[in-house]
């Protein structure tokens, strides 16, 4: 069964490569990046081994623990989980979860991240092999560590995905966001505390290694370190923890698999009625752009993928506010500008990102826009109107919070000017690039952490273009706002220029993007169709 599943995965990957040039470019880039990281890690560890630097073991433990943490965090935050072998597809075969499990673990390692992790784990064995016992401990640690990485990632994405894809998530979204935000805030705060208390770098790495070694991410990886330095009690404890963790995770994955095998269909809600939401229609009017805006506003409320976007828009500024509080204590304000105002600015920088994904999120439903002959410009503009209705109040809220906390009401106007240039600028750029580059996205109701065949690279390029445009367009306004702190003419010019740049970018972006759509609608439909990816 293991060989069958690994073979299946290899074959699926090869077939996907044949279908899309984007996919090939993506794999080449990922492979190059992976090789670079592996080379760096291997050379680094071997160099540390033979130079015998005192912090060597600590650095290795911290690095490998970070690797395992990354396996869990990266799919949640950025790229999603490779779902080539979706267990739901095996539902009709007479197989138990237990029979599939070993093969699925093995096939998770097929791919750039898996191979890179195995190579790095092997290099760590070389690093620890200063004696027979540490070498054996390192080998055991490496096996357990790789297993922890792969299975933990699966369990977390499958578990959370099931939670977030469901309709119930919508109503608990606010609570989950609050918990996540405060957790990340606390983590940042604790990190800052540790850094500020520890005077030199070697001690810092030492305490980080000690801390990491006692987290689930580091139990396996710190095992050889304890053995090498003769801390037998600690080594035994970690071995026990790591084994129990891997066994528990495998059991959890098996349970999740079992559920997926018996209910492979994606979640469908239970006949819930929606209100008429007449206020949305009155707000946006009955023009084509207004109709698109009205539809998008309903999606911002009803589609878990958009709700997740709102969550991200809230989390980032809050994390910034927490770390800013710590900065303030160390008396590190950025010249005359309190850190509070980075909250609204960071929101403005991110605003365009959901617009990049809009067409991908619509999926094949965009055929409605094709057959009704809606002008591309109305499509682009409608989406931005909805975005503005959602994000505008958030921006005002953060701006007011910044003013209240810092007491600097004089900064509200220049900060809003910079935010207008960055936010509207990003939205305009996203309207243009989002019209050109699309890839299929996981449909609403599916696991939001799932990646689809061949996506990713286009989304990444669109994201980079959007954020870069936000930043570049904000620079002149930032300069004016700065000068405006003591030059009255600049204080007047900043909001005018900021609004001008922002509105100019939106006009240009919707016009160029809309024009492109008018000529390329059928290609857009092909791009977002999953089967042709």
């Amino acid at each position: 069964m293991v060989a069958v599943l690994v073979g299946l995965k290899l074959r699926l990957l090869r077939n996907a490569l044949r279908q899309s040039a984007w996919r090939i470019v993506g794999v080449v880039l990922a492979t190059a990046y992976g090789l670079f990281l592996v080379a760096l890690a291997v050379v680094g560890m071997i160099a540390l081994r033979f130079t015998g630097v005192a912090v060597g073991p600590d650095v290795v433990v911290v690095g490998l623990s970070a690797l395992t943490l990354g396996w869990t965090l990266v799919p949640l935050l950025a790229s999603g989980m490779d779902d080539t072998l979706d267990p739901g597809r095996f539902a009709l075969l007479p197989l138990r979860a237990r029979e599939l499990l070993p093969g699925l673990v093995a096939s998770s390692l097929v791919g750039v991240p898996g191979v890179a992790t195995v190579l790095i784990a092997l290099a760590s064995v070389v690093f620890w092999a200063t004696g027979a016992l540490p070498a054996i401990a390192a080998l055991i640690g490496a096996v357990l560590g790789v297993l922890t990485s792969v299975v933990l990632a699966r369990v977390v994405t499958t578990g959370l995905g099931g939670l977030m894809g469901g309709r119930r998530f919508r109503d608990s979204a606010a609570g989950i966001v609050a918990v996540l935000a405060s957790l990340s805030g606390v983590t940042v705060a604790m990190g800052m505390e540790a850094v500020s208390r520890t005077p030199n770098a070697a001690d810092l790495v030492g305490s980080l290694a000690a801390l990491a070694g006692w987290t689930p991410f580091g139990w396996a990886w710190s095992l050889p370190a304890d053995v090498a330095s003769g801390r037998w009690g600690s080594a035994a404890a970690k071995l026990g923890c790591a084994v129990v963790l891997v066994a528990g995770l495998l059991r959890a994955w098996e349970a999740l698999l079992e559920r997926r095998l018996t209910s492979p269909l994606e979640a469908r809600g239970g006949g819930e009625r929606v209100g008429q939401s007449g206020w949305i229609d009155r707000l946006v009017g009955t023009s084509s752009a207004g109709a698109v805006a009205g539809r998008c506003l309903r999606y911002w409320r009803r589609d878990p993928r958009y709700i997740t976007s709102i969550a991200m828009y809230l989390i980032l500024p809050i994390v910034l506010v927490v770390s800013m509080q710590l900065q303030r204590r160390s008396g590190d304000d950025l010249g005359a500008v309190p850190w509070e105002f980075f909250g609204p600015f960071s929101l403005a920088m991110l605003v365009g990102l959901s617009t990049c994904q809009d067409l991908a999120y619509d999926g094949t439903a965009v055929w409605t826009h094709l057959t009704t002959g809606v002008p591309g410009r109305a499509d682009r503009l409608g989406r931005l109107i909805a975005l503005g209705v959602v994000v505008g109040p958030l921006f005002v809220l953060l701006q007011l919070a910044a003013a209240v906390i810092s007491g600097r009401w004089d900064l509200v106007v220049p900060s809003t000017a910079v935010g207008a240039a960055a936010g509207l600028g990003g939205a305009g750029a996203a309207s243009w690039i989002g019209a050109i580059l699309q890839s299929p996205a996981a449909p609403a109701g599916a696991n939001p952490f799932r990646t689809t065949n061949g996506g990713g690279l286009q989304a990444m390029i669109a994201t980079m273009v959007t954020v870069a445009a936000s930043g570049i367009l904000a620079v002149p306004v930032l300069a004016l706002a700065w000068a405006g702190l003591d030059q009255p003419w600049a204080a007047v010019a900043a909001p005018v220029v900021g609004l001008g740049i922002g509105l100019g970018a939106v006009t240009l972006g919707t016009r160029l993007g809309g024009g492109y759509l008018d000529g390329h609608w059928p290609e857009v439909l092909t791009n977002v169709s999953e089967k042709r990816a």
Binding site: G269, R273, R302, A365, T368, L370, T371, T372, V374, A444
Partner: protein, 256 residues
């Protein structure tokens, strides 16, 4: 009088595979036209190219004399479309979806209101009008799709598998709507696998296979005195599996 829909030599390749091969077809105004063919014959690809959803590699499509690929907006105004296998904006309720399509089609809001009510009522969707389309069964999804295709009172209806997954009762309702639509001067082209349905409903049809038209014309001309099912099998030269093949399947009834 111009024909409702004319396909001239349209061709589409997917990689090395030729899905539609220089296919030409004329749908006269006022006809109820059936497009039949086996799986993979290119029916969906053909209808996608006719409606502006898929760009042909070669060929021309005229709707009421307007070139779909030279002036898409003008041609799209004339058509109501129900594609197969594409999603709807399914986080809207049925009523909201109808209103959305109506507004994009620039139907006056008061007309949208009145027509939605009638369409939902006729298709038996009034009960579920305020439920999200994502929660509809596949038959209900077909019906709301049909309502969306009708809301702007088009001159030509292009429907891909409109009767699939639809229960017999709703099927009869849809047949009634299509007949009335044609009686009122409209034109319908739809694809189907079900020969009996096409035989009973259509006055014109075309049989396609391997991306080409094998036979086309009035119902009586195409079936040439046979049943449509028999004629279809003759045209495609289908071989029924002979005795002695798949015998192991019989073991499931008894001993194994």
């Amino acid at each position: 009088m111009t024909d409702a829909l004319v396909l001239e030599q349209i061709t589409k390749n997917f990689g090395a595979k030729r899905a539609v091969d220089a296919l030409s077809l004329t749908v006269p105004r006022g006809s109820l036209f059936g497009l039949v063919g086996p799986n993979g014959a290119g029916k969906t690809t053909t209808l996608s190219m006719a409606t502006g959803l898929l760009r042909p590699d070669y060929g021309r499509v005229l709707v009421g004399g307007v070139d779909v690929w030279a002036d898409p907006p003008a041609a799209k105004t004339l058509m109501g479309v129900l594609p197969d296998g594409l999603r709807l904006f399914d986080r809207l309720s049925g009523r909201e979806l109808l209103r959305y399509v109506g507004l994009l089609r620039r139907v006056p809001p008061a007309d949208i209101e009145a027509r939605s009510r009638e369409l939902l009522d006729a298709l038996g969707l009034t009960e579920d009008a305020d439920n999200l389309v994502v929660d509809y069964s596949s038959g209900m999804t077909k019906k709301i799709g049909l309502a969306c295709a009708l809301i702007h009172a088009p001159a030509l209806l292009v429907l891909d598998e409109p009767f699939e997954a639809v229960d017999p009762l709703s099927g009869e309702v849809i047949r009634g709507i299509l007949r009335r639509f044609v009686a009122g001067g409209g034109t319908v082209i739809f694809s189907s696998h079900v020969m009996e349905l096409v035989e009973q409903l259509c006055d014109q049809l075309a049989v396609v296979a391997l991306g080409r038209v094998v036979a086309a014309g009035s119902l009586d001309a195409v079936r040439a005195g046979e049943s449509l099912q028999q004629r279809f099998l003759d045209l495609l030269g289908v071989a029924v599996p002979s005795e002695g093949v798949l015998t192991w399947l019989q073991s499931s009834s008894g001993s194994n």
